[in-house]
Amino acid sequence: MSMAEAIARFVPDGSTVAMGTALEALIPFAAGHELIRQTRRNLNLVGPISDALFDQLIGAGCVRRVTAAWLGNVSEGLGHCYRRACEQAIPHAIEVRDHSNFSISLALWAAAWSVPYLPARTLLGSDILRTNPDVSVAGDLVHVNAVRPDVAIVHVQRADAEGRAHAWGPLGITEEAGLAADHVIVTCEELVDSDVTLSDPNRILLPESKVIAVVHEPGGSHPSPVQGYFKRDHGVYRNYAERSRSREGFEAWLRECVLDMPDRAAYMERIDVESLRIKNHRPSEPADFGDE
């Protein structure tokens, strides 16, 4: 399925969308940019930390609420669109549900296990308890309310057409986000035969019964890194930080890098892919799944 079709069919206005669940790696930028091109509105974005992507969606006016632990630009600092939205309601005001990394993970585990909350040993003594209605103190525990995304969008190294995704490297809160979500959209560097994915069922990230779309989108997480495929494009984050400092600068960036791009392929043509491509291969030692 094409990215345009997947976003059009499965991420309507007002959706609660989990993205960037592996933190700084495997961020589904291509999916985010398609949300912008389709002028999606009133999204509730869910994630642990967001390295630039949520900032871009906020600047583009797609977002009503953010439910996350950190939102900015990891190597550069503050998120300028996030600041403008919170401080000056530019382009419009947004609601923020502050979490810590641990509490957003537990909020998703609560939803995955269909309980209203999970008790936790974190957030005690933090003003997050004062400003986020989804967390509350109960004795010497905190109750973290369930957060259930309508859809989780995950970028992975490889997947088959049936939705069996192989992802590796640190996965942050990807598993609980996918299990908590009603549906999962998988975007992948490589679309592979099911012989590849089924050769290692332990590496299959989520049950195919949750996956509603598989999009083959090479470079779909640029400028974030993909273990075995792409290095992080630090310069692009720096450039985005500089250009997004002003609203005008952001809008010029948005036009040039998102709105004027018909699709991801066009975007990738402007990237020096070869300088980012990982060339030293480090294959994992196979596991023997023999049975007889």
């Binding site: 592996a22 933190l23 700084e24 790696a25 930390i49 390295d51 996350a68 632990a69 950190w70 939102l71 900015g72 990891v74 190597s75 600092g77 503050l78 998120g79 996030y82 600041r83 939205a85 919170c86 401080e87 923020v96 502050d98 979490h99 810590s100 990394n101 641990f102 509490s103 993970s105 537990l106 585990w109 040993r121 974190t122 957030l123 005690l124 003594g125 933090s126 003003d127 997050i128 400003t131 004795g139 010497d140 525990l141 590796w168 490297g169 640190p170 996965l171 942050g172 809160i173 990807t174 598993e175 609980e176 974030s224 890194p225 075995g228 290095k231 992080r232 630090h234 984050y237 990982i278």
Partner: protein, 254 residues
């Protein structure tokens, strides 16, 4: 002694906070360099834990823009979920954590969320990330900050990551926080140390080339100075060599 930048000074001081054998919850930027320096000098058996879901012993062999960069995964001892890493921290397995902050007060409370009224902030900061978790759950933690009056304030307007709260004895225990709390604030001018069991930050040492008056001038609270406040020992050649090896272009330290 060769020249060094304020950031290099901070990294070398931070590295000395790491004890051999520690399991260190490593943040980004300067702490990741401090961990590398410590591993290569006095803490060869320390291990690092990263909230993305990684455990390492050796520092990554290449520059890291983020903890999720591919070199940080090669040689990792465990690539897992964040909630598993947090499980270790709730169990008191994390000896030392590093937290970056925008604002800190004399009781070690950090604000990385809002300047001004959270409903109408004058500045919206990125938020907690793992900061609140580390502040609440690690056995001890350290924060690194540029030394400015607007950053070292009497009381933070919003406590993202709690230190010793209102500074009254037993505040953390009364509020159910499992971890030990902050042990030091490392700035571009000097080092503040918290007393055992918590309380107010006291100036422990001033970095070479700076004075106590300078520290006082740029601190937002009435300074308390430890007896025998000293000059911070400058980075050693070995420390500087390690720092520059792991940050060759001075991405974090220039």
């Amino acid at each position: 002694m060769s020249d060094f930048t304020p950031q290099e000074m901070m990294v070398s001081v931070a590295s000395r906070e790491i004890r051999d054998g520690d399991l260190v919850f490593v943040g980004m930027r300067l702490p990741i360099l401090a961990y590398a320096v410590a591993r290569n000098s006095h803490a060869p058996t320390a291990r690092g834990l990263f909230e993305v879901g990684l455990m390492r012993d050796q520092p990554a062999s290449a520059f890291l823009g983020t903890m999720g960069d591919p070199p940080n995964v090669v040689g990792a001892l465990w690539a897992t979920r964040m909630s598993n890493v947090m499980a270790l921290m709730t169990q008191g397995n994390v000896d030392l954590g590093f937290i970056g902050g925008a604002e800190v007060d004399r009781f070690g409370n950090l604000n990385t969320s809002y300047v001004g009224d959270p409903a109408h902030p004058s500045v919206k900061l990125p938020g907690s990330g793992g900061g609140a978790d580390i502040a609440i759950l690690s056995r001890r933690w350290v924060t690194l900050m540029t030394h400015e009056k607007r950053r070292l304030v009497e009381r933070v307007s919003y406590v993202t990551s709690p230190g010793y709260g209102d500074g009254t004895p037993g505040w953390r225990k009364r509020n159910g926080l499992l971890g030990g709390g902050p042990s030091a604030i490392i700035t571009t001018l000097g080092v503040f140390r918290f007393p055992e069991g918590g309380g107010e930050a006291m100036v422990e040492s001033v970095h070479p080339g700076h004075t106590l008056d300078e520290v006082r001038e740029h601190t937002g609270w009435d300074l308390h100075v430890a007896d025998g406040v000293s000059e911070t020992s400058a980075p050693t050649e070995a420390e500087l060599t390690a720092i520059r090896q792991f940050d060759p272009e001075g991405f974090w330290t220039r």
